[in-house]
């Protein structure tokens, strides 16, 4: 039986491979093919350059599949679009409407409590926030737009990413199935999903949020998965010995102990979201990325660098808040361990 299985797999693979070659030969345009199929075995010149008939036709089906998606599921995407856009515009308008000192005060308050009343971090974040508008008054509103997009993207990542990460940690099959998808999401060039994003959602903030999700959710999923799997076996055994159900083990033991790792994932997720927001300015997403793009297109080095510094400051703010929140949680869980 074992031996039989060993032969079966390579056999299936080679059948699929030959099938693909036949498809590509059949669908190639006549002018690219030798007149007779048997010519291939008489004239071996095709071994020099890659022959045109050996070209798997993937572009056309992808195009028509995409058109079908737009026509059949237009309403579905419209719904997602309206929901995310409503969230974004209401958040943006309320923040842009607030006087800037109040926004700074809000950021300071959030930092102060998230970091567990650390004065150093709070002062640093307050300083960075002030500097955003201080660099150029134009940047203030644009930074708020960028922040809104990043925050919504992050929320989407957390809501979807953490449950998937937990599912991966608990089930090996799920993990094996999802890992290649995560690899794909992380390596496929962003323009491959930015341009279809415009076709589905139109120009603006929503394709950027979707792009953030695709680009930034993999590290969160990976770190959640890793964090839960790294929880000591003994601790879990102990909890089981005390009669905890699977659910109780998860919520009472695994997740709290994995929280520092999960927070690290959230932190990475934020940083990648910010990177993507700059790229998204190329599909008409308003925000601080605009300024960099404009500087590049006008060959204005000063303008691009100034806006680049603003993005770094924004990154520092996000990083310090999430990082210090993570540290606070870590201190708490370690204290529990000591007791």
């Amino acid at each position: 039986m074992q031996k039989y299985k060993k032969i079966l797999k390579p056999f299936i693979y080679s059948v699929v491979f030959i099938f693909l070659i036949i498809i590509s030969y059949r669908s190639a345009k006549p002018r690219y093919k030798p007149e007779n199929f048997t010519d291939i075995f008489n004239d071996f010149s095709w071994l020099g350059n890659w022959p045109k008939w050996l070209d798997f036709p993937l572009m056309q089906p992808l195009n028509s599949g995409f058109d079908w998606l737009i026509v059949e599921y237009g309403l579905f995407f419209e719904g997602i679009n309206n929901f995310l856009l409503g969230l974004y515009t209401s958040m943006k308008n309320s923040l842009v409407g607030l006087p800037w000192p109040i926004v700074i005060a809000l950021v300071v308050l959030i930092t102060y409590f998230a970091s567990g009343r650390k004065t150093n971090t709070t002062v640093m974040v307050a300083f960075c926030t002030f500097f955003l508008g201080f660099l150029s008054p134009r940047y203030w509103d644009k930074c708020i737009m960028t922040t809104c997009i990043v925050v919504i993207g992050m929320l989407l990542c957390i809501v979807v990413g953490i449950p998937i990460g937990i599912a991966m940690a608990r089930n090996k099959k799920v993990r094996n199935a999802l890992l290649p998808i995560l690899d794909l999401m992380q390596t496929i060039p962003s323009f491959c999903y930015l341009i279809p994003g415009i076709l589905l959602f139109g120009l603006g903030a929503v394709p950027a949020i979707i792009a953030i999700f695709v680009y930034a959710v993999p590290p969160l999923i990976r770190l959640t998965d890793l964090g839960i799997r790294l929880v000591d076996k003994e601790v879990i055994e102990a909890s089981e010995a005390f009669g905890a159900s699977k659910k109780q083990t998860l919520w009472g033991v695994q997740i709290p102990l994995a929280l520092p790792n999960i927070m690290q994932g959230v932190n990475q997720c934020t940083m990648m979201s910010l990177a993507m927001v700059v790229i998204a300015s190329m599909i008409g997403t308003r925000g601080i990325g605009d300024e960099v793009l404009l500087g590049l297109q006008q060959l204005n080095v000063g303008m691009a660098t100034e806006a680049g510094i603003a993005i770094v400051l924004l990154a520092i703010i996000f990083d310090r808040i999430t990082q210090s929140y993570g540290e606070k949680i870590q201190e708490r869980t370690q204290q529990k361990k000591k007791i």
């Binding site: 341009i195 415009i198 120009l203 190329m282 297109q297």
Partner: protein
């Protein structure tokens, strides 16, 4: 030790490779290319002829208008085969005066740019000119989801001069009260926004131009604007250049009119053109001209049949047209034909 030996060997190998490649080519030409498809086609055709016919090493660099033009002025790029001269008047005249570039005549004799609306919407609401657009109920059709109460016109990319021209036009025509002059960020995004609107059957209001591949696929109607007038255009150009240099706050009331039915030109850097060895290539580029209809046909081939292969499109143009044989001396034409 083994690592060191391999390292040295690989350097020697790389050196030998670069020597052999540069030894075959008698000359080197660096073409500038832009991020829209008609420019890509001209670059591909000219590049193919220079490479196969003149035996030169051709390198082409693709980018946004400003960086590529700057590289031409800086003598890093030798030739550009499609320059939207009227959009860049000031810049080009300054550099002609400075002697950094020379112009090589007209490429595509006529091309159009302007404000377009999709045909179904234009028919339904009787939209013919920009004046017809100035109604709140019309603006609602093109609603900008990020600016409540306003419509959206997808405009040029903010680095292109036409973005500023459109901004001034919006103000002069009074469109700015109803529409945002929306920067789509990149050429691909602008195309995708228009194509997406048509696929979903939504109203489209956009700046666009011909010759383009997309124009053959979608049905856009050009809106009438005040007729072109040289004095008016010059007055507007001054305001536009001022805004480009000092920001949108320096806007002054000006006159505005439609984009001129402009010719696309070719240009070369002075350093390249003054080199006597390059004279045959300069002569060829001077002769190079393709009418709009043929460009559109090539673009259609590129979109539908070439599988996105520009070289294939250039070969298709060269095999199905004979106009190019007049651009080059007989022996060059023979060499190009032999390679097809």
């Amino acid at each position: 030790m083994k690592f060191l030996r391999n390292l040295i060997l690989s350097f020697v190998f790389a050196g030998a490779m670069s020597l052999t490649t540069s030894a075959n080519a008698a000359c080197k030409v660096h073409l500038g290319d832009f991020d829209w498809d008609s420019a890509n086609i001209h670059t591909a055709i000219a590049g193919y002829i220079i490479e196969k016919g003149y035996g030169c090493e051709v390198q082409s660099t693709k980018g946004s208008t400003t960086p590529i033009m700057a590289a031409l002025f800086d003598q890093q790029i030798d030739i550009i085969t499609e320059v939207w001269r009227d959009n860049l008047v000031q810049l080009i005249e300054d550099n002609l005066a400075k002697g950094t570039i020379i112009e090589l005549g007209v490429n595509t004799p006529s091309s159009t740019q302007g404000f377009y609306v999709d045909k179904p919407t234009a028919d339904k609401y009787g939209l013919k000119s920009v004046e017809d657009m100035k109604k709140p109920e019309i603006a609602k059709l093109f609603a900008d989801p990020e600016a409540p109460g306003k419509g959206r016109m997808t405009s040029c990319i903010s680095g292109w001069t036409c973005y500023t021209i459109n901004m001034v036009k919006h103000k002069v025509y009074g469109l700015d009260e109803f529409y945002t002059n929306f920067d789509p960020g990149s050429g691909g995004a602008l195309d995708a926004a228009i194509a997406g609107g048509f696929k979903k059957g939504k109203p489209v209001f956009s700046y666009y131009w011909t010759p383009t591949g997309l124009m053959g696929k979608v049905d856009l109607v050009k809106l009438e604007e005040p007729a072109y007038d040289q004095a008016c255009w010059d007055e507007m150009t001054k305001v536009v250049e001022d805004i480009k240099a000092n920001g949108p706050d320096v806007y002054k009331d000006t006159c505005a009119c439609e984009y001129v039915n402009m010719s696309l030109t070719k240009a070369a850097s002075t350093k390249f053109a003054n080199n006597a060895a390059n004279k045959p290539i300069i002569d060829f580029i001077k002769n190079y001209t393709v009418p709009t209809a043929v460009v559109n046909k090539s673009l259609a081939f590129y979109m539908d049949e070439s599988d996105g292969d520009m070289e294939e499109t250039a070969k298709n143009f060269l095999s199905n047209n004979s106009m190019w044989e007049k651009w080059v001396p007989g022996d060059v034409a023979k060499k190009v034909k032999a390679s097809l």
